[in-house]
Amino acid sequence: MRSVLEIKNVYVKYGNEAVLQNVSFTVEHGDYIGVVGPNGSGKTTMMKALLGLVPVSGGAVIFPDKNLKKENIGYVQQKQGGTDTNFPATVREIVSTGLIVHKKGIKYLTSQDKERVDEILGTLQIKDLQNKKVGHLSGGQYQRMLLARALVNRPGMLILDEPASALDPKIRDDLFLILSELNKNQGITILFVSHDIGSIGKYTNKMLYLDRKVVFFGDYEQFCQSKDMTEYFGYEAQHNFCWRHNHE
């Protein structure tokens, strides 16, 4: 497996407070990584740091694969409630942004671009919502729209920051299935941030447990067999999680 993203000894500070301390891990092509940890553990900051949205105060974020640059990452950020209920844009306008922002010079959509927008709206089953205003969407529809915007430019990697937090279980499972298909069929590398360790375990192949520093990074078998993790989480929590991962 070739590495597509290397995080080396990264520190991020907000004022004097170190939110991330000496974080290191490597993402390989085709990985589907669940990034978990308690609230305030630095998960969102980590994602923003590797996207260049938050400056790192130490260490490095490296994209070693020439086929994957920062601009080629699709990002779905945590929904900030009520920020855009009045925003006068349709679903199609927002999804089209995912293509048009990458263009140079005079920016416009070609007929091929429009077909691509149609295709991705169809894939995510939101074509009938294309003329609906973004403020009128349900939580699940809104997340699908953001996912469509992230996918429309055919990204090499997806970073999803708690995209399922506002969704009911059925829609959440649908979203997970879509992502699993993208990962398996199109080889898109995925980093999926969640505070819910149980719900993502059955879909992802690796886990990064962050609590300002890396507590665990590896596959689930390692996690389930790790005595350090038993000590960290307690036997019951570890056992419950590993049982769900293997049986659900």
């Binding site: 006068p88 844009a89 306008e93 942004t97 922002v101």
Partner: protein, 274 residues
Amino acid sequence: MNNIMMLLAEAVRYDFITRALVVGSFIAVSCSFLGIFLVLKRLSLIGDGLAHVSFGAVAISMVLGASPLFFTIPLVVIASFLILRLKEKAGIDGDAAIGLVSATAVAIGVFLASKGQGFNIDLFSYLFGNILVINNSDLYISIILSVFVTGSVLFFYHDIFAVTFDEDFAGIAGIKSKTINNLVVLLTAVTIAVGIRIVGAMLISSMIIFPVVTALQFEKGFKQTIVIAAAVSVICVITGILLSFIINAPSGATIVIMNSIMFIFIFVTTKIKG
């Protein structure tokens, strides 16, 4: 009715009325193009702050005997960047930074005006708008600057749209959000410096806010909202200027009252239609 038509026909025969209609319409379009981004980014207040700065700048230019428009534009642009720097570098909240800069500018203007010729008709006309002060050079400058503002917004439309909806997403794609925000504020500064001739420093920010908020009631897409806002604004400017001539009222106040009536009418009718 015939009397009103005769008055309107008489109004457009006056050069100062036609100049005001042309300048006002161009300013109205510029304000609407910028207003949608400022309102959605919750930066509407910067229009108010820069209008106060422009009043201070006009007062200073009168004391110095300089051309108000040539003096006001660079000063308001400098003030707009000062507000952004205070917000970004000094960690002062945006609304507080606007308050600091605009209050200082107005205070300097009032201080210099009182030490110079004192408040006169000219200065008051910039406070509340006076279409009589618009001359031909103002007309040409207004048209050129409005075309520049509108053209810039159209050229950077997709970048500005992306930054307005989601700065992080735009940033990852390589769009420099800070540059785009600076551009919008710069264009706003220029528009306000030009626009205070018509509606005055006290009321110019309403031309940025009212048409956009009125257009938002239709719940259309982004481009349609801009077009509706521009149309609403031009209609209010034209009816406001003509009405101010007919009833002998201040042009700025009349334009804003037309905007208020338009907003209430559209707000109520869209809510009734549900």
